[in-house]
Amino acid sequence: MTDQRKEQAKRRTDQMVISRGIQQGDKVLDLGCGRGSLLQLLIREKQVQGIGVDNDPTKVLECIRKGISVYQSDVDQALNIFPDQSFDRVILSRTIEHLDHAGNTIEQALRVGKRVTIGFINHGFWVNRLNYFLKGNRTINDVYPDPWYNSAPVTLFSLNNFEEYCHSHNIRIHERICLDGNWKNECSLFPNLLAGYVIVDISR
Protein backbone atom coordinates (compact mmCIF):
# COMPACT_ATOMS: atom_id res chain seq x y z
CA MET A 1 0.00 0.00 0.00
CA THR A 2 1.35 3.44 -0.86
CA ASP A 3 2.02 5.94 1.91
CA GLN A 4 -0.93 8.02 0.79
CA ARG A 5 -3.33 5.06 0.86
CA LYS A 6 -2.04 4.04 4.27
CA GLU A 7 -2.59 7.59 5.48
CA GLN A 8 -6.14 7.65 4.13
CA ALA A 9 -6.95 4.30 5.75
CA LYS A 10 -5.64 5.59 9.06
CA ARG A 11 -7.69 8.74 8.75
CA ARG A 12 -10.84 6.68 8.14
CA THR A 13 -10.25 4.54 11.21
CA ASP A 14 -9.59 7.64 13.30
CA GLN A 15 -12.85 9.16 12.12
CA MET A 16 -14.84 5.99 12.70
CA VAL A 17 -13.61 5.59 16.24
CA ILE A 18 -14.27 9.22 17.07
CA SER A 19 -17.75 9.12 15.59
CA ARG A 20 -18.68 6.13 17.80
CA GLY A 21 -18.47 8.38 20.84
CA ILE A 22 -20.71 11.11 19.39
CA GLN A 23 -24.43 11.25 20.20
CA GLN A 24 -27.14 12.20 17.75
CA GLY A 25 -27.49 15.97 17.48
CA ASP A 26 -24.41 16.75 19.57
CA LYS A 27 -22.80 20.17 19.35
CA VAL A 28 -19.30 19.49 18.12
CA LEU A 29 -16.23 21.72 17.81
CA ASP A 30 -13.44 20.24 15.68
CA LEU A 31 -10.16 22.02 16.33
CA GLY A 32 -7.68 21.60 13.50
CA CYS A 33 -10.50 20.29 11.32
CA GLY A 34 -8.47 20.20 8.08
CA ARG A 35 -10.68 19.74 5.04
CA GLY A 36 -13.69 19.01 7.21
CA SER A 37 -14.08 15.31 6.35
CA LEU A 38 -14.65 14.26 9.97
CA LEU A 39 -17.30 16.95 10.49
CA GLN A 40 -18.90 16.01 7.20
CA LEU A 41 -19.11 12.39 8.39
CA LEU A 42 -20.53 13.42 11.76
CA ILE A 43 -23.11 15.72 10.20
CA ARG A 44 -24.20 12.98 7.83
CA GLU A 45 -24.24 10.10 10.33
CA LYS A 46 -25.14 11.81 13.57
CA GLN A 47 -26.71 15.13 12.49
CA VAL A 48 -24.33 17.06 14.69
CA GLN A 49 -24.22 20.85 14.85
CA GLY A 50 -20.59 21.20 13.96
CA ILE A 51 -18.08 23.99 13.77
CA GLY A 52 -14.59 23.50 12.37
CA VAL A 53 -11.49 25.54 13.12
CA ASP A 54 -8.37 25.57 10.97
CA ASN A 55 -5.60 28.04 10.23
CA ASP A 56 -4.88 26.87 6.71
CA PRO A 57 -6.81 28.90 4.10
CA THR A 58 -6.87 26.04 1.55
CA LYS A 59 -8.41 23.71 4.13
CA VAL A 60 -10.89 26.40 5.19
CA LEU A 61 -11.97 26.75 1.57
CA GLU A 62 -12.61 23.00 1.40
CA CYS A 63 -14.79 23.25 4.50
CA ILE A 64 -16.74 26.10 2.94
CA ARG A 65 -17.23 23.95 -0.19
CA LYS A 66 -18.66 21.20 2.00
CA GLY A 67 -21.12 23.66 3.54
CA ILE A 68 -19.51 23.30 6.98
CA SER A 69 -19.34 26.25 9.39
CA VAL A 70 -15.65 26.97 9.66
CA TYR A 71 -13.65 29.63 11.48
CA GLN A 72 -10.22 30.45 10.11
CA SER A 73 -7.85 30.99 13.00
CA ASP A 74 -5.47 29.16 15.30
CA VAL A 75 -7.21 26.89 17.78
CA ASP A 76 -6.42 28.93 20.90
CA GLN A 77 -7.99 32.09 19.49
CA ALA A 78 -11.06 30.09 18.44
CA LEU A 79 -11.49 28.51 21.88
CA ASN A 80 -11.59 31.98 23.44
CA ILE A 81 -14.82 32.68 21.60
CA PHE A 82 -16.92 30.11 23.38
CA PRO A 83 -18.51 30.12 26.83
CA ASP A 84 -17.92 27.31 29.35
CA GLN A 85 -19.37 23.90 28.50
CA SER A 86 -21.01 25.19 25.32
CA PHE A 87 -20.16 22.08 23.28
CA ASP A 88 -21.04 18.45 23.89
CA ARG A 89 -17.77 17.44 22.31
CA VAL A 90 -14.51 19.18 21.43
CA ILE A 91 -12.29 17.19 19.09
CA LEU A 92 -8.55 17.52 18.70
CA SER A 93 -7.68 14.89 16.14
CA ARG A 94 -3.96 14.82 15.29
CA THR A 95 -3.84 18.45 16.34
CA ILE A 96 -2.15 18.72 19.72
CA GLU A 97 1.23 17.56 18.50
CA HIS A 98 1.31 20.71 16.32
CA LEU A 99 0.48 23.18 19.08
CA ASP A 100 2.59 25.52 21.16
CA HIS A 101 1.94 24.78 24.84
CA ALA A 102 -0.61 22.07 24.18
CA GLY A 103 -1.48 22.03 27.88
CA ASN A 104 -3.12 25.46 27.63
CA THR A 105 -5.20 24.33 24.68
CA ILE A 106 -6.30 21.16 26.47
CA GLU A 107 -7.33 23.22 29.52
CA GLN A 108 -9.42 25.54 27.33
CA ALA A 109 -10.92 22.60 25.44
CA LEU A 110 -11.97 21.08 28.79
CA ARG A 111 -13.54 24.40 29.73
CA VAL A 112 -15.53 24.68 26.52
CA GLY A 113 -16.49 21.04 25.99
CA LYS A 114 -18.40 18.64 28.20
CA ARG A 115 -16.22 15.93 26.72
CA VAL A 116 -12.99 16.27 24.82
CA THR A 117 -11.76 13.71 22.32
CA ILE A 118 -8.07 13.76 21.59
CA GLY A 119 -6.48 11.60 18.92
CA PHE A 120 -2.73 11.49 19.05
CA ILE A 121 0.23 9.54 17.79
CA ASN A 122 1.94 7.50 20.47
CA HIS A 123 5.60 8.31 20.20
CA GLY A 124 6.41 5.42 22.52
CA PHE A 125 5.54 3.04 19.67
CA TRP A 126 8.26 0.39 19.37
CA VAL A 127 9.41 1.37 15.85
CA ASN A 128 10.41 4.82 17.11
CA ARG A 129 12.29 3.29 20.04
CA LEU A 130 14.11 0.91 17.69
CA ASN A 131 15.15 3.74 15.39
CA TYR A 132 16.54 5.75 18.26
CA PHE A 133 18.21 2.76 19.88
CA LEU A 134 19.74 1.24 16.78
CA LYS A 135 20.39 4.29 14.61
CA GLY A 136 19.85 7.28 16.91
CA ASN A 137 17.49 8.68 14.27
CA ARG A 138 14.00 10.13 14.03
CA THR A 139 11.52 7.82 12.32
CA ILE A 140 10.48 8.68 8.77
CA ASN A 141 7.35 6.84 7.62
CA ASP A 142 3.77 7.56 6.64
CA VAL A 143 3.09 8.81 10.16
CA TYR A 144 6.14 11.09 10.20
CA PRO A 145 6.68 11.75 6.51
CA ASP A 146 8.73 14.94 6.64
CA PRO A 147 12.46 15.04 7.37
CA TRP A 148 13.70 17.33 10.14
CA TYR A 149 14.75 20.08 7.75
CA ASN A 150 11.41 20.18 5.97
CA SER A 151 8.79 19.93 8.65
CA ALA A 152 6.89 22.19 11.02
CA PRO A 153 7.80 21.74 14.67
CA VAL A 154 6.01 18.77 16.23
CA THR A 155 5.76 17.82 19.90
CA LEU A 156 6.55 14.15 20.42
CA PHE A 157 5.05 12.38 23.41
CA SER A 158 3.94 8.91 24.39
CA LEU A 159 0.71 7.44 25.72
CA ASN A 160 2.31 7.23 29.15
CA ASN A 161 3.32 10.89 28.96
CA PHE A 162 -0.28 11.77 28.17
CA GLU A 163 -1.80 9.65 30.93
CA GLU A 164 0.63 11.07 33.49
CA TYR A 165 -0.38 14.53 32.37
CA CYS A 166 -4.07 13.69 32.89
CA HIS A 167 -3.47 12.23 36.36
CA SER A 168 -1.43 15.19 37.52
CA HIS A 169 -3.92 17.71 36.13
CA ASN A 170 -7.12 16.28 37.53
CA ILE A 171 -8.39 15.09 34.14
CA ARG A 172 -10.60 12.00 33.92
CA ILE A 173 -10.03 9.54 31.12
CA HIS A 174 -13.43 8.02 30.34
CA GLU A 175 -12.31 5.91 27.47
CA ARG A 176 -9.08 5.04 25.77
CA ILE A 177 -8.85 3.28 22.44
CA CYS A 178 -5.41 2.15 21.31
CA LEU A 179 -4.85 1.21 17.72
CA ASP A 180 -1.95 -0.88 16.47
CA GLY A 181 0.83 0.29 14.17
CA ASN A 182 -1.43 0.21 11.13
CA TRP A 183 -4.21 1.92 13.04
CA LYS A 184 -6.52 -0.91 12.00
CA ASN A 185 -7.02 -3.06 15.02
CA GLU A 186 -7.43 -2.20 18.65
CA CYS A 187 -4.62 -3.35 20.88
CA SER A 188 -4.81 -3.61 24.62
CA LEU A 189 -1.49 -5.27 25.43
CA PHE A 190 1.47 -3.07 26.37
CA PRO A 191 -0.14 -0.07 24.68
CA ASN A 192 2.72 2.34 25.30
CA LEU A 193 4.91 0.01 23.26
CA LEU A 194 2.49 -1.43 20.75
CA ALA A 195 -0.08 1.30 20.05
CA GLY A 196 0.59 3.52 17.04
CA TYR A 197 -2.33 5.82 17.67
CA VAL A 198 -4.53 6.54 20.66
CA ILE A 199 -7.93 8.15 20.97
CA VAL A 200 -9.01 9.30 24.42
CA ASP A 201 -12.26 10.70 25.73
CA ILE A 202 -11.60 13.04 28.65
CA SER A 203 -13.28 15.59 30.87
CA ARG A 204 -12.73 17.42 34.15
Partner: protein
Protein backbone atom coordinates in the same frame (compact mmCIF):
# COMPACT_ATOMS: atom_id res chain seq x y z
CA UNK B 1 -8.54 28.71 -10.99
CA UNK B 2 -12.00 28.18 -12.35
CA UNK B 3 -12.80 30.34 -15.38
CA UNK B 4 -13.10 34.06 -14.99
CA UNK B 5 -14.84 34.66 -18.24
CA UNK B 6 -16.51 37.41 -20.16
CA UNK B 7 -18.47 40.44 -19.25
CA UNK B 8 -22.21 40.99 -19.05
CA UNK B 9 -21.70 43.39 -21.97
CA UNK B 10 -23.66 46.57 -22.59
CA UNK B 11 -26.11 47.37 -19.79
CA UNK B 12 -28.42 50.22 -19.00
CA UNK B 13 -29.98 51.22 -15.70
CA UNK B 14 -33.67 51.29 -14.92
CA UNK B 15 -35.67 53.37 -12.50
CA UNK B 16 -38.27 52.08 -10.09
CA UNK B 17 -40.53 54.92 -9.04
CA UNK B 18 -42.66 54.50 -5.95
CA UNK B 19 -45.44 57.05 -5.66
CA UNK B 20 -46.03 56.11 -2.04
CA UNK B 21 -44.35 58.20 0.65
CA UNK B 22 -41.23 56.58 2.04
CA UNK B 23 -40.87 56.85 5.81
CA UNK B 24 -37.43 56.77 7.42
CA UNK B 25 -36.61 55.16 10.75
CA UNK B 26 -36.61 58.55 12.43
CA UNK B 27 -40.21 59.15 11.40
CA UNK B 28 -39.55 61.69 8.68
CA UNK B 29 -40.65 60.96 5.16
CA UNK B 30 -40.29 61.90 1.53
CA UNK B 31 -43.34 61.93 -0.73
CA UNK B 32 -41.97 59.63 -3.37
CA UNK B 33 -38.92 57.56 -4.10
CA UNK B 34 -36.95 56.71 -7.23
CA UNK B 35 -34.52 53.81 -7.09
CA UNK B 36 -32.06 53.48 -9.94
CA UNK B 37 -30.92 49.91 -10.49
CA UNK B 38 -29.37 47.44 -12.89
CA UNK B 39 -29.85 43.72 -13.24
CA UNK B 40 -27.67 41.11 -14.89
CA UNK B 41 -28.64 37.54 -15.74
CA UNK B 42 -32.20 36.23 -15.58
CA UNK B 43 -34.64 35.47 -12.83
CA UNK B 44 -35.51 31.78 -12.80
CA UNK B 45 -39.02 30.34 -12.65
CA UNK B 46 -38.91 29.74 -8.91
CA UNK B 47 -37.75 33.36 -8.51
CA UNK B 48 -35.14 32.22 -5.99
CA UNK B 49 -31.87 32.84 -7.80
CA UNK B 50 -31.65 36.56 -7.04
CA UNK B 51 -28.43 38.01 -5.64
CA UNK B 52 -28.57 41.53 -4.24
CA UNK B 53 -25.37 43.57 -4.45
CA UNK B 54 -25.07 46.38 -1.89
CA UNK B 55 -22.57 49.09 -2.74
CA UNK B 56 -20.14 50.94 -0.50
CA UNK B 57 -19.84 54.66 0.24
CA UNK B 58 -18.56 55.80 -3.15
CA UNK B 59 -20.19 53.08 -5.23
CA UNK B 60 -23.42 52.98 -7.17
CA UNK B 61 -25.84 50.69 -9.00
CA UNK B 62 -23.52 50.16 -11.97
CA UNK B 63 -21.38 47.29 -10.78
CA UNK B 64 -20.94 45.24 -13.94
CA UNK B 65 -20.84 45.56 -17.72
CA UNK B 66 -20.49 48.72 -19.77
CA UNK B 67 -22.74 51.67 -20.31
CA UNK B 68 -23.04 52.71 -23.94
CA UNK B 69 -19.80 54.41 -25.05
CA UNK B 70 -18.14 53.89 -21.68
CA UNK B 71 -14.51 52.85 -21.60
CA UNK B 72 -14.58 51.43 -18.08
CA UNK B 73 -17.01 48.85 -16.76
CA UNK B 74 -18.96 48.79 -13.51
CA UNK B 75 -17.01 48.85 -10.26
CA UNK B 76 -17.25 45.08 -9.64
CA UNK B 77 -17.06 43.79 -13.19
CA UNK B 78 -14.16 41.51 -12.26
CA UNK B 79 -16.36 39.33 -10.04
CA UNK B 80 -19.80 39.64 -11.68
CA UNK B 81 -20.45 38.15 -15.07
CA UNK B 82 -20.95 34.93 -17.05
CA UNK B 83 -18.74 32.23 -15.53
CA UNK B 84 -17.40 34.61 -12.88
CA UNK B 85 -17.73 33.92 -9.12
CA UNK B 86 -21.01 35.89 -9.02
CA UNK B 87 -22.17 34.03 -12.09
CA UNK B 88 -24.80 35.77 -14.19
CA UNK B 89 -25.50 32.50 -15.99
CA UNK B 90 -26.79 31.06 -12.71
CA UNK B 91 -27.98 34.06 -10.74
CA UNK B 92 -30.14 37.11 -11.30
CA UNK B 93 -27.94 39.89 -9.98
CA UNK B 94 -29.63 43.06 -8.76
CA UNK B 95 -27.75 46.21 -7.88
CA UNK B 96 -29.33 49.49 -6.84
CA UNK B 97 -28.09 52.95 -5.91
CA UNK B 98 -28.59 53.39 -2.17
CA UNK B 99 -31.27 55.64 -0.73
CA UNK B 100 -29.67 59.06 -0.24
CA UNK B 101 -27.40 58.49 -3.19
CA UNK B 102 -26.60 60.81 -6.06
CA UNK B 103 -26.50 58.49 -9.04
CA UNK B 104 -30.20 58.32 -9.79
CA UNK B 105 -31.83 57.22 -6.55
CA UNK B 106 -33.58 59.89 -4.49
CA UNK B 107 -31.14 61.74 -2.29
CA UNK B 108 -30.33 65.24 -1.03
CA UNK B 109 -29.62 66.47 -4.57
CA UNK B 110 -33.04 65.31 -5.81
CA UNK B 111 -35.88 67.79 -6.26
CA UNK B 112 -38.40 67.89 -3.40
CA UNK B 113 -41.78 67.97 -5.17
CA UNK B 114 -43.29 70.14 -2.45
CA UNK B 115 -40.74 72.94 -2.94
CA UNK B 116 -39.39 72.29 -6.46
CA UNK B 117 -35.95 72.79 -4.92
CA UNK B 118 -33.34 70.14 -4.05
CA UNK B 119 -33.84 68.63 -0.62
CA UNK B 120 -30.23 69.35 0.36
CA UNK B 121 -30.10 69.17 4.15
CA UNK B 122 -33.87 68.87 4.40
CA UNK B 123 -33.43 65.29 3.24
CA UNK B 124 -34.18 63.06 6.23
CA UNK B 125 -31.23 61.66 8.19
CA UNK B 126 -30.76 58.17 6.90
CA UNK B 127 -29.48 54.93 8.39
CA UNK B 128 -28.32 51.65 6.87
CA UNK B 129 -31.71 50.23 7.88
CA UNK B 130 -33.44 52.84 5.70
CA UNK B 131 -31.25 51.85 2.74
CA UNK B 132 -32.30 48.24 3.22
CA UNK B 133 -35.98 49.19 3.51
CA UNK B 134 -35.74 50.92 0.13
CA UNK B 135 -34.03 47.88 -1.40
CA UNK B 136 -36.89 45.73 -0.12
CA UNK B 137 -39.34 47.93 -2.04
CA UNK B 138 -37.34 47.27 -5.19
CA UNK B 139 -37.42 43.51 -4.60
CA UNK B 140 -41.20 43.68 -4.06
CA UNK B 141 -41.49 45.51 -7.37
CA UNK B 142 -39.40 42.79 -9.07
CA UNK B 143 -41.62 40.09 -7.55
CA UNK B 144 -38.77 38.63 -5.50
CA UNK B 145 -39.57 37.33 -2.03
CA UNK B 146 -36.48 35.24 -1.41
CA UNK B 147 -32.85 36.01 -2.24
CA UNK B 148 -30.17 33.42 -2.96
CA UNK B 149 -27.76 35.89 -1.38
CA UNK B 150 -27.20 39.44 -0.19
CA UNK B 151 -23.61 40.55 -0.78
CA UNK B 152 -21.72 43.66 0.19
CA UNK B 153 -18.32 45.06 1.07
CA UNK B 154 -17.61 47.85 3.54
CA UNK B 155 -20.81 49.94 3.77
CA UNK B 156 -22.34 47.26 1.54
CA UNK B 157 -21.46 44.64 4.16
CA UNK B 158 -23.35 46.67 6.74
CA UNK B 159 -26.40 46.56 4.45
CA UNK B 160 -26.00 42.81 3.98
CA UNK B 161 -25.94 42.38 7.78
CA UNK B 162 -28.94 44.63 8.13
CA UNK B 163 -30.78 42.44 5.59
CA UNK B 164 -30.39 39.34 7.72
CA UNK B 165 -31.61 41.20 10.78
CA UNK B 166 -34.44 43.23 9.26
CA UNK B 167 -35.81 40.60 6.85
CA UNK B 168 -34.42 37.32 8.23
CA UNK B 169 -36.56 35.13 6.00
CA UNK B 170 -35.43 36.72 2.74
CA UNK B 171 -31.68 36.17 2.19
CA UNK B 172 -30.68 32.48 2.16
CA UNK B 173 -27.02 33.48 2.26
CA UNK B 174 -25.23 36.61 3.34
CA UNK B 175 -21.70 37.43 2.21
CA UNK B 176 -19.98 40.16 4.21
CA UNK B 177 -16.67 41.54 2.96
CA UNK B 178 -14.24 43.89 4.70
CA UNK B 179 -16.97 45.19 6.95
CA UNK B 180 -17.86 45.73 10.59
CA UNK B 181 -20.77 45.59 13.00
CA UNK B 182 -19.74 49.03 14.14
CA UNK B 183 -16.91 51.29 13.02
CA UNK B 184 -13.92 51.94 15.20
CA UNK B 185 -13.46 55.35 16.79
CA UNK B 186 -10.61 55.88 14.35
CA UNK B 187 -12.93 55.34 11.38
CA UNK B 188 -15.40 57.87 12.80
CA UNK B 189 -12.51 60.28 13.28
CA UNK B 190 -11.51 60.00 9.63
CA UNK B 191 -15.10 60.54 8.51
CA UNK B 192 -15.30 63.63 10.66
CA UNK B 193 -12.25 65.14 8.97
CA UNK B 194 -13.83 64.47 5.59
CA UNK B 195 -17.10 66.08 6.63
CA UNK B 196 -15.30 69.09 8.05
CA UNK B 197 -13.45 69.64 4.79
CA UNK B 198 -16.83 69.77 3.06
CA UNK B 199 -18.75 72.05 5.40
CA UNK B 200 -15.81 74.38 5.87
CA UNK B 201 -15.50 74.90 2.13
CA UNK B 202 -16.59 78.49 1.36
CA UNK B 203 -18.86 77.15 -1.39
CA UNK B 204 -20.78 74.98 1.11
CA UNK B 205 -23.62 77.43 1.95
CA UNK B 206 -25.17 75.11 4.54
CA UNK B 207 -25.68 72.47 1.88
CA UNK B 208 -27.57 74.83 -0.43
CA UNK B 209 -24.85 75.03 -3.03
CA UNK B 210 -25.73 74.87 -6.71
CA UNK B 211 -24.86 72.03 -9.06
CA UNK B 212 -22.51 74.38 -10.88
CA UNK B 213 -20.70 75.59 -7.75
CA UNK B 214 -20.51 72.71 -5.28
CA UNK B 215 -17.99 72.61 -2.39
CA UNK B 216 -15.61 70.87 -4.79
CA UNK B 217 -12.43 71.65 -2.87
CA UNK B 218 -13.81 70.22 0.35
CA UNK B 219 -15.24 67.14 -1.32
CA UNK B 220 -12.04 66.40 -3.20
CA UNK B 221 -9.98 66.76 0.00
CA UNK B 222 -12.40 64.43 1.78
CA UNK B 223 -11.96 61.93 -1.02
CA UNK B 224 -8.16 62.20 -1.08
CA UNK B 225 -7.97 61.44 2.60
CA UNK B 226 -10.57 58.68 2.48
CA UNK B 227 -8.75 57.09 -0.42
CA UNK B 228 -5.60 56.76 1.67
CA UNK B 229 -7.61 54.89 4.31
CA UNK B 230 -8.72 52.43 1.63
CA UNK B 231 -5.13 51.53 0.74
CA UNK B 232 -2.15 50.28 2.72
CA UNK B 233 1.32 51.55 3.48
CA UNK B 234 2.87 48.65 1.62
CA UNK B 235 0.54 49.02 -1.33
CA UNK B 236 1.35 52.70 -1.73
CA UNK B 237 5.06 51.99 -1.38
CA UNK B 238 4.88 49.37 -4.13
CA UNK B 239 2.76 51.49 -6.43
CA UNK B 240 4.50 54.84 -6.06
CA UNK B 241 7.48 54.61 -3.76
CA UNK B 242 9.45 57.84 -3.83
CA UNK B 243 8.86 58.37 -7.54
CA UNK B 244 8.78 61.97 -8.52
CA UNK B 245 6.49 63.46 -11.11
CA UNK B 246 9.14 66.01 -11.98
CA UNK B 247 12.64 66.63 -10.73
CA UNK B 248 12.32 70.38 -10.22
CA UNK B 249 9.64 70.73 -7.55
CA UNK B 250 8.78 74.31 -8.44
CA UNK B 251 6.26 75.96 -6.16
CA UNK B 252 5.56 74.67 -2.64
CA UNK B 253 2.09 73.61 -3.71
CA UNK B 254 3.00 72.00 -7.04
CA UNK B 255 2.85 68.27 -7.46
CA UNK B 256 6.26 66.83 -6.68
CA UNK B 257 5.76 63.12 -5.94
CA UNK B 258 3.77 60.67 -8.08
CA UNK B 259 1.51 59.78 -5.17
CA UNK B 260 0.47 63.44 -4.93
CA UNK B 261 -0.56 63.46 -8.56
CA UNK B 262 -2.53 60.27 -8.03
CA UNK B 263 -4.40 61.65 -5.03
CA UNK B 264 -5.21 64.92 -6.77
CA UNK B 265 -6.64 62.95 -9.67
CA UNK B 266 -8.71 60.83 -7.27
CA UNK B 267 -10.08 63.95 -5.62
CA UNK B 268 -10.89 65.82 -8.81
CA UNK B 269 -12.54 62.92 -10.64
CA UNK B 270 -14.66 62.15 -7.56
CA UNK B 271 -16.16 65.62 -7.58
CA UNK B 272 -17.39 65.05 -11.13
CA UNK B 273 -19.55 62.12 -10.12
CA UNK B 274 -20.43 62.56 -6.46
CA UNK B 275 -22.56 64.94 -4.44
CA UNK B 276 -21.15 66.54 -1.29
CA UNK B 277 -24.42 66.25 0.65
CA UNK B 278 -24.70 62.55 -0.19
CA UNK B 279 -21.17 62.14 1.13
CA UNK B 280 -22.22 63.67 4.44
CA UNK B 281 -25.36 61.54 4.69
CA UNK B 282 -23.57 58.29 3.82
CA UNK B 283 -20.66 58.94 6.17
CA UNK B 284 -23.13 59.60 9.01
CA UNK B 285 -24.96 56.38 8.18
CA UNK B 286 -21.59 54.58 8.46
CA UNK B 287 -20.78 56.25 11.77
CA UNK B 288 -24.15 55.54 13.38
CA UNK B 289 -24.38 51.89 12.30
CA UNK B 290 -23.98 49.91 15.49
CA UNK B 291 -25.26 46.37 15.91
CA UNK B 292 -23.82 46.08 19.42
CA UNK B 293 -26.81 47.91 20.82
CA UNK B 294 -27.28 49.39 24.29
CA UNK B 295 -26.06 46.21 26.01
CA UNK B 296 -22.86 46.20 23.97
CA UNK B 297 -23.66 42.64 22.92
CA UNK B 298 -23.54 41.70 19.27
CA UNK B 299 -25.37 38.41 19.87
CA UNK B 300 -28.57 40.32 20.68
CA UNK B 301 -28.71 41.70 17.14
CA UNK B 302 -28.31 38.33 15.44
CA UNK B 303 -30.87 36.26 17.36
CA UNK B 304 -33.33 35.95 14.45
CA UNK B 305 -30.77 35.36 11.69
CA UNK B 306 -31.68 32.45 9.43
CA UNK B 307 -29.19 32.94 6.60
CA UNK B 308 -25.96 31.04 6.10
CA UNK B 309 -23.27 33.67 6.62
CA UNK B 310 -19.68 34.09 5.47
CA UNK B 311 -17.56 37.05 6.49
CA UNK B 312 -14.22 37.63 4.81
CA UNK B 313 -11.49 39.77 6.35
CA UNK B 314 -8.44 41.06 4.48
CA UNK B 315 -5.11 41.05 6.28
CA UNK B 316 -3.92 44.53 5.25
CA UNK B 317 -7.28 46.25 5.82
CA UNK B 318 -6.62 48.62 8.68
CA UNK B 319 -9.91 50.53 8.27
CA UNK B 320 -12.26 47.58 8.82
CA UNK B 321 -9.65 45.11 10.07
CA UNK B 322 -9.98 41.31 10.18
CA UNK B 323 -10.81 41.38 13.91
CA UNK B 324 -14.01 43.34 13.25
CA UNK B 325 -15.08 40.79 10.66
CA UNK B 326 -14.19 37.96 13.03
CA UNK B 327 -16.41 39.46 15.71
CA UNK B 328 -19.44 39.24 13.43
CA UNK B 329 -18.92 35.50 12.95
CA UNK B 330 -18.01 34.92 16.60
CA UNK B 331 -21.37 36.34 17.66
CA UNK B 332 -23.22 34.19 15.12
CA UNK B 333 -21.35 31.02 16.14
CA UNK B 334 -22.11 31.65 19.81
CA UNK B 335 -25.79 31.69 18.83
CA UNK B 336 -25.43 28.37 17.00
CA UNK B 337 -25.98 29.98 13.59
CA UNK B 338 -24.42 28.64 10.39
CA UNK B 339 -21.51 31.01 9.91
CA UNK B 340 -17.94 30.97 8.69
CA UNK B 341 -14.98 33.31 8.74
CA UNK B 342 -12.25 33.27 6.12
CA UNK B 343 -9.23 35.52 5.87
CA UNK B 344 -7.56 36.60 2.65
CA UNK B 345 -3.87 37.51 2.52
CA UNK B 346 -3.68 40.85 0.80
CA UNK B 347 -1.31 43.78 0.58
CA UNK B 348 -3.70 46.35 -0.77
CA UNK B 349 -5.71 47.45 2.24
CA UNK B 350 -9.45 47.94 2.60
CA UNK B 351 -9.95 48.13 -1.18
CA UNK B 352 -8.73 44.53 -1.48
CA UNK B 353 -12.35 43.37 -1.56
CA UNK B 354 -12.69 45.04 -4.96
CA UNK B 355 -9.62 43.40 -6.45
CA UNK B 356 -9.19 40.09 -8.15
CA UNK B 357 -7.36 37.33 -6.34
CA UNK B 358 -7.55 33.60 -6.95
CA UNK B 359 -8.20 32.39 -3.42
CA UNK B 360 -10.69 35.19 -2.72
CA UNK B 361 -12.67 34.49 -5.88
CA UNK B 362 -12.64 30.73 -5.24
CA UNK B 363 -14.01 31.35 -1.76
CA UNK B 364 -16.84 33.58 -2.99
CA UNK B 365 -17.73 31.11 -5.72
CA UNK B 366 -17.69 28.15 -3.32
CA UNK B 367 -19.90 29.91 -0.78
CA UNK B 368 -22.50 30.85 -3.37
CA UNK B 369 -22.56 27.30 -4.77
CA UNK B 370 -23.21 25.32 -1.58
CA UNK B 371 -26.68 23.86 -1.19
Amino acid sequence: MESVEGSVGIVSPQDFISEEPFTFLNGESISNLTIRYETYGSLNEAKDNGILICHALSGDHHCAGFHEDAKKPGWWDNIIGPGKPIDTEKYFVISSNCLGGCQGTTGPASIDPSTSEPYNLKFPRLTIADMVKAQKLLLDHLGISTLHAAIGGSMGGMQAMQWMIQYPEIPQKVLILASTARQSTQAIAFNEVGRTAIHQDPAWHHGNYTKEKPPATGLSIARMMAHITYLSNRGLETKFGRDRRKQDPGHLTDVEFEVESYLRYQGQSFVNRFDANTYLYFSKALDTFDLYGPENDLTQAFKEVQAKVLAIGFTSDWLFPPEENQQIIQALLKLGKKASYAEIESELGHDSFLLESEHYFNTVRAFLEIK
